[in-house]
């Protein structure tokens, strides 16, 4: 004897006042259908209403976003293994952005003049909210970036990723490594304490040793015969403006060539 299957319940008619969550949900859905929202999030964005996971929408996520557009829509499967790249190139880029943000914060409280710079540094530690923390982040982040850029070069060597057609991108990469070290070194002077000035004194002695143009090179780096106020403003400008400008130019070429040369190298 077949029992009658329970009839499908008709959707309950809403009675009383809707709950606050329902109102919010409805408004949220409406907002996501609005032109404003749709004009910000291009097709394929996971924030669009009715987003569905499909190969097409996965492609759109990359194609329709300026940042994600650094990547191709699809990558070789071996390339996403952590053991192949260790994420070193991407982390170097991330650390560059991280250092730019923390560096801009530090610039608000820093005057590159020998009379006030040490007082500014002390005030940064003691009076600025999160001043000490942001300076720590900037310092350790900079050391970490030097390490990741260098290890990235080692990774590229060990996977043979400098071989044709990627020879030129290797050269761009070596330039990026040099500029990274220069950025770190130019930032070293800026705290204007005994550690900074003597590290730079030792470092710039190397310039004096270069043949023929030794004294001239030293003069250009130091801005005089001895490290002082002229050196500080010179290295400050190099650190916050000139070298970041150079490194961004070469990074653009570097990333562009990665794509043009066929994406990630390998497989091994």
């Amino acid at each position: 004897m077949a029992t009658k299957a329970p009839e499908k319940k008709a959707p309950e008619k809403k009675t009383g006042f809707p709950k606050p969550g329902e109102i919010l949900g409805e408004q949220w859905d409406k907002f996501r259908e609005a032109q404003l929202w749709k004009s910000i999030f291009r097709p394929g964005s996971i924030f669009r209403k009715g987003h569905q996971d499909s190969p097409k929408s996965r492609a759109y996520v990359v194609m329709n976003n300026v940042l994600y557009h650094l990547h191709p829509v699809k990558v070789k499967r071996h390339g996403i293994k952590l053991s192949y790249t260790l994420c070193l190139g991407g982390l170097s880029f991330f650390l560059f952005i991280f250092l730019t943000i923390t560096g801009i914060f530090l610039m608000f409280f820093y005057r590159p003049s020998t009379e006030v710079v040490y007082a500014d540094m002390t005030a940064l530690h003691t009076q600025v909210a999160f001043g000490q923390l942001v300076r720590n982040l900037h310092r350790w982040g900079a050391h970490l970036m030097t390490v990741t850029v260098f290890l990235h070069m080692a990774r590229v060597f060990y996977t043979g990723a400098y071989k044709p057609p990627r020879e030129f991108n290797w050269i761009v990469g070596v330039i990026l490594l040099l500029v990274t070290v220069l950025l770190a070194f130019s930032g070293y002077l800026l705290p204007w304490d005994q550690l900074a000035i003597w590290a730079v004194t030792v470092g710039t002695q190397f310039a004096l040793e270069s043949p023929v143009v030794g004294r001239e090179a030293y003069f250009v780096f130091v801005g005089g015969g001895q490290i002082g106020a002229t050196t500080l403003i010179r290295w400050y400008t190099l650190h916050v403006l000139f070298l970041p400008f150079i490194i961004v130019l070469f990074m653009a070429v570097h990333f562009w060539r990665v794509r043009k040369d066929g994406g990630i190298s390998g497989p091994l």
Binding site: G141, Q194, F206, E209
Partner: protein, 299 residues
């Protein structure tokens, strides 16, 4: 026929407009008719289709329906095109009798230079020894030969960047951020007394990434350690891809390169570590545990 090609153009254009075709389609059909008139072919689209179908064995009927809309698009984008896109406005008899007639011009209209239109062209030349008219085409895009799918190429195993790669990247970014935050929360960046050019600290060291070179200064003349060696290192790095001509990237095929680079890395690492942690006052040898604890993170 007394009509000149230009008259044919005007007539077909007027006919098409009467039928209610959209202006671009009407114009394309009129142009096609004018072109046929110049070549001395039948100008009426239906007749032309029949003539072709008579010669061509019926083939690929199924795709006829699919290709038709494409043919219309192509007619709109291509400057001068003899192909005609038949539509439902055609006489019903012609459609019913010769379904292949649709396939032929449609395939031609698609205008792929290789392959797809070949069957239709072969059929036409068989029909009356008439060779397909030269088509003038606009340059729409430059496509590298690699971009065209080649059957002989091994398909590469690829995955979607989103979410597979980007999820991994997000984790890496977060991990590094957390690491830096924790490190910075517990260990302060070094900050000594104010710079004083007249008071030399002992030892005075360069930043750690130059300590390998500073260590070399103990063993070589400054011209060698400070200029010659770094210079050749940089030149060597730049020249690496041009020195190493071995095309393989398999570790087994490039043992020499890997051994040489590893030796370089070891030298560099050892010199840097010795310069950083094993050099005390006067740059003389000490052990890391002899360094005052407050000096350990001074770099």
């Amino acid at each position: 026929m007394a009509e000149s090609p230009d008259e044919v153009y005007e007539r077909v254009l007027a006919e098409e407009k009467d039928k209610g075709s959209s202006p671009p389609v009407a114009e394309a059909r009129a142009k096609a008719a004018r072109h046929r008139a110049r070549k001395g072919l039948p100008t009426d689209p239906a007749e032309a289709a029949k003539a072709e179908a008579a010669a061509k064995p019926a083939s690929d009927q199924a795709s006829a329906g699919e290709q038709e809309p494409k043919a219309e698009e192509a007619a709109e984008t291509t400057e001068e095109k003899p192909a005609e896109a038949p539509s439902e406005e055609k006489p019903a008899a012609a459609v019913a009798k010769t379904p292949a007639a649709q396939a032929a011009p449609a395939a031609q209209a698609e205008g792929a230079p290789k392959g797809r239109g070949a069957a239709a062209r072969a059929a036409r030349s068989a029909a009356g020894g008439q060779i397909a008219p030269e088509r003038m085409q606009r340059l729409l895009a430059v496509v590298k030969p690699e971009a065209i799918q080649r059957v002989e190429r091994e398909p590469i195993d690829r995955v979607n960047t989103w979410p597979h790669l980007m999820a991994a990247e997000a984790v890496a970014l977060l991990a590094v951020t957390v690491f830096l935050m924790l490190f910075s929360a517990f260990i302060n960046a070094p900050f000594r007394e104010m710079a004083n050019i007249n008071q030399t600290p002992n030892p005075s060291k360069a930043p750690w990434y130059f300590l390998g070179l500073q260590e070399l200064l103990r063993y070589f003349h400054p011209q060698v350690a400070g200029v010659l060696i770094p210079q050749w290192l940089i030149v060597g790095f730049f020249a690496t891809p041009y020195i190493d001509r071995n095309p393989s990237n398999k570790p087994n095929d490039r043992k020499l390169a890997i051994v040489m680079f590893t030796i370089y890395l070891m030298f560099f690492a050892v010199l840097t570590i010795v310069g950083s942690l094993f050099r005390g006052p006067g740059f003389n040898w000490i052990y890391p545990w002899q360094i005052p604890i407050v000096r350990i993170f001074e770099f």
